[in-house]
């Protein structure tokens, strides 16, 4: 049982929380303007790293607030808990953010690139 330090209520067992998957994922601001591929990216394609992951959790049995954490998916160590609208301050977590293809300032560039290269499937 993970111990998650809710920024408001303090440390609680993971069973009190709802998992929200990848953090820093932004909905395309104008969904009508993006391709099916970009929309599929938004809907279905999450980071799934073996190692440090920036992810969203919600203290559903407590204060009901969403927040972000940086957690290692192998060791389960939690490096940082930070607000939903902030970036991590931990250096390793920050590096993970910087490498993320979905990171905000690269989202647009990526979107175009992905639309071109994702001719996958049969």
């Amino acid at each position: 049982m993970l111990l998650i330090d809710c920024p408001w209520c303090g440390p609680r067992d993971d069973s009190e929380f709802q998992y929200g998957g990848e953090a820093h994922k932004r909905r395309p601001p104008a969904p009508d303007q993006v391709s099916d591929a970009v929309w599929a990216d938004y809907l279905f394609h999450n980071q799934n790293p073996k190692g440090l992951y920036l992810e969203r959790w919600r203290h559903s049995a407590g204060c009901r607030r969403w927040f972000n954490i940086a957690r290692d998916t192998v060791s389960h160590a939690v490096l940082e808990v930070y607000p939903a609208d902030a970036l991590p301050s931990n250096a390793a977590a920050r590096a993970v953010y910087e490498q993320n293809w979905r990171r905000e300032n690269e989202a647009a560039a990526n979107a175009a690139a992905v639309a071109e290269t994702t001719e996958i499937g049969a």
Binding site: G21, N48, V74, A122
Partner: protein, 430 residues
């Protein structure tokens, strides 16, 4: 459905073949004539096909590539020991009673291959068609069950509806008191479903593939997938570079990691799935029984252990361990439905890492990179599909085009929106 091409039987003319004569011979000479089940191969420079992942699906893929398609220059790369991933960590249930046509075709294809697989491989997989019963616990579930049973039947798959009394006759330890919080209102049984010995599936396929010359390379971790332009050229491993024109990725639980190596994104999240066994007891339950509403399923192994499984944990993990509440809730449900198990003791719990897809259906697909194929996303239900998965994936790799069974499971469905939503089929909630 047309007859399945099961390929050439392994070890047909081999001195290594298991037979009554071989058993007798060895019994009287101290078992000194049994040879290696498979060679512990070292990688050669190049292969026609490299399969990444030495679990049941990967080994089956290699076996069918060799036995059906005649491609023998194959390496199976396994980062640990073969069958050490989800093949060796599941609850061994086999069935094909799925809702959607696409799934029914795939899992029924697998089930037909299971029937006779021990003989194909000359290895007793202990495939036991003891029946799989799925329970309904509410009026709503009864309606869902009716939809499912009708669909299964019209897809030509066996399924029969049982009432509580018939369920009690089949599973005497079940409590059918209508006053239960989740009373047993009915269920449907697939008699051809059952269980198999999970480790044996990996070993049997490995031994048979080895007999066709496939190299099975253990402790061989892939560190990079190399390509030139949009064509794969081989893989970097901890045992050096291995050249290959075609690469099949069949690494359940780690598919996302492999995809990242190739610069691809998969709609997959890796989650822990937990299961447990009790201490061995004398037989109390012959049928496999699954229950959606209370999130648990149960069977009894040939050794006497009760085998229980639950749903996945809610968060991503590669740690092969899950949270305790999953186990607690599963066992609360076990006591509720099977009161006599309260004093039976849990022997061992464990977790596996499963690839979960948004629609709870697998991915069997080409990719945007030529020669790179993915077979993943089986979620909680991969074991039952092992032969079918290997069979259609081998076909895809050999012909570079999916057959009718594999086609609906291509990656393109996530763009088009043509999902195959089988969340209701898992037996437990994801």
């Amino acid at each position: 459905m047309s007859a399945i091409n099961r390929g050439v039987r392994a070890l047909k003319n081999s001195a290594k073949r298991y037979s009554l004569a071989a058993l007798a011979r060895n019994a009287f000479n101290g078992h000194n004539q049994w040879t290696e089940a498979w060679r512990n191969a070292k990688p050669r420079e190049a292969y026609d096909v490299v399969i990444i992942g030495g679990g049941g699906h990967g080994l089956a893929t290699a076996y069918y590539l060799a036995s059906v398609h005649g491609i023998r220059n194959i390496a199976v790369l396994e980062k640990g020991w073969i069958g050490g991933g989800n093949t060796g960590r599941n609850t061994t249930i086999i069935r094909s009673n799925y809702l959607w046509d696409e799934s029914a075709a795939l899992y029924e294809h697998a089930l037909k291959l299971w029937e006779g697989l021990s003989q194909d491989l000359n290895f007793n997989l202990m495939f036991s068609q003891r029946g799989v019963l799925t329970l309904a616990h509410s009026e709503h579930e009864m309606k869902e069950m009716s939809r499912r049973v009708n669909a299964i039947r019209l897809n030509g798959i066996d399924s029969e509806v049982l009432n509580p009394m018939e369920i009690k006759a089949l599973v005497p330890i079940i409590d059918i008191n209508p006053g239960l919080r989740y009373p047993v209102m009915g269920g449907f049984l697939q008699k051809r479903g059952g269980t198999a010995r999970h480790d044996a599936v990996a070993w049997g396929y490995a031994r048979a593939a080895d007999d066709f010359g496939v190299d099975i390379i253990q402790n061989c971790a892939v560190t990079a997938i190399r390509r030139e332009g949009d064509q794969v050229t081989g893989v970097e491993t901890n045992q050096g570079f291995i050249k290959a024109a075609k690469i099949g990725c069949v690494a359940s639980g780690h598919s996302g990691v492999l995809a990242a190596m190739a610069g691809l994104r998969l709609p997959i999240e890796s989650r822990p799935l937990q299961a447990l066994v009790s201490e061995p007891i004398k037989p109390v339950i012959d049928t496999v029984v699954m229950s959606n509403a209370v999130h648990m399923y149960i069977s009894q192994s040939d050794k006497g252990e009760l085998v229980l499984g639950a749903g996945t944990d809610a968060y991503n993990s590669y740690a092969q361990r899950g949270s305790l509440p999953i186990i607690e809730h599963m066992l609360e449900a076990a006591v509720e439905l099977y009161p006599i198990v309260s004093r039976v003791r849990v022997l061992r719990t464990w977790g596996g890492i499963v690839d979960t897809c948004p629609d709870a259906s697998p991915i069997i697909s080409k990719t945007s990179i030529k020669g790179l194929y993915f077979n993943c996303g089986w979620g909680t239900g991969g074991f039952k599909a092992t032969p079918g998965s290997g069979h259609v994936f081998a076909d895809l790799i050999a012909r570079d085009t999916p057959n009718a069974i594999a086609a609906p499971f291509a990656l393109s469905r996530f763009e088009s929106g043509h999902l195959i939503d089988e969340h209701g089929a898992a037996g437990v909630a994801h």
